[in-house]
């Protein structure tokens, strides 16, 4: 039996470490302008956001569809027929910090620097 003091310190330490990691993830902005549309683990389309024209297209996933909207420099999921709408609420992304994910449709939109995945330094 450890003392409660030990557990308080352990949990506080874990919380501090997670907070630090979360802050690092969100403040680091890995470069990159190439958006990759990944469906079920396969890259189905890449768009260079610097030279992109405004457009909207529909991605057909396993259990539904996501409407992806592209504007110069940024990309978002405009609407989706999944139940939770997490991907839609995430809004526009314009750098490699956090990818857009629609888990029900297994769709991931990530921004990389092209051949170098932008998040490896953070995630790896």
């Amino acid at each position: 039996m450890r003392s409660t003091r030990f557990w308080v310190l352990a949990v506080a330490g874990l919380l501090a470490a997670s907070l630090l990691a979360a802050v690092l993830v969100y403040t680091s902005s890995p470069g990159g302008t190439v958006a990759e549309i990944v469906l079920d683990g396969e890259v189905i389309r890449t768009i260079d956001l610097e030279t992109a024209q405004a457009e909207t297209f529909v991605v057909q996933g396993e259990s539904g569809t996501n409407t992806v909207q592209v504007e110069p420099g940024r990309i978002r999921v405009q609407c989706a027929d999944c139940p939770d709408q997490v991907c839609v609420h995430q809004g526009w992304i314009s750098d490699g910090t956090v990818p857009i994910v629609c888990l029900p449709n297994r769709l991931v939109i990530r921004i990389t620097g092209g051949s170098h995945p932008g998040l490896d330094g953070v995630a790896g």
Partner: protein, 178 residues
């Protein structure tokens, strides 16, 4: 709770089944009610997890087998009730890892340290969720969500754990059904 006052002695297995069914129903009601709340943060997997008050309580006071069965029944029925079959996969992965951590931990903790078990369970649940998400989407980059999930998991785990701890002394009658 008239049935609690009956003088008839029910077979042990019937008592156990009744108690598990009652706790599953309570957990399911909490789970479905919580699912009606809008997501606080636009990140998949961030939620209060109030139904885990029942899980933590069961791990401590009923033992591993009963707790696992209550959790399994709640997760399957809960995902059926809310229509999020995708969430079933994540909840099963997270739930399994959560039990794997909280059951051994509950043996070395006192009743006044139930919150530790809840926090550790929440953290294990988050890690399980991310592992399932990485496997399903085959996108290892999803690991970047882990720190955010952990922060929310530690805070909500602390809350549900303290709730379970406060309830522990007040639900003794459920144990008398033994």
């Amino acid at each position: 709770m008239i049935f609690l006052r009956t003088k008839e002695v029910l077979p042990v297995e019937v008592r156990r089944l009744t108690r598990m069914a009652l706790l599953t129903a309570i957990a399911l009601a909490i789970f479905v009610a919580e699912a009606q709340l809008p997501a606080p943060v636009p990140i998949y997997g961030v939620k209060l997890g109030l139904a885990n008050i029942v899980t933590v309580w069961a791990v401590f006071l009923l033992g591993p087998a009963d707790a696992a069965m209550i959790l399994l029944a709640r997760v399957v029925l809960g995902c059926l009730a809310t229509g999020q079959m995708m969430a079933l996969l994540f909840s099963l992965g997270g739930g399994a890892l959560c039990l794997l951590v909280s059951i051994p931990l509950s043996r070395v903790l006192t009743r006044k340290q139930m919150w530790v078990c809840s926090v550790a369970g929440a953290v294990a649940h988050n890690i399980g969720q991310i592992l399932v998400a990485v496997a399903v989407t085959r996108t290892p980059e999803l690991v970047v969500y882990l720190p955010v999930l952990l922060v929310s998991g530690i805070i909500t785990g602390l809350f549900t754990g303290l709730c379970a701890q406060l309830l522990a002394g007040r639900l003794e009658f459920l144990l008398r059904l033994k």
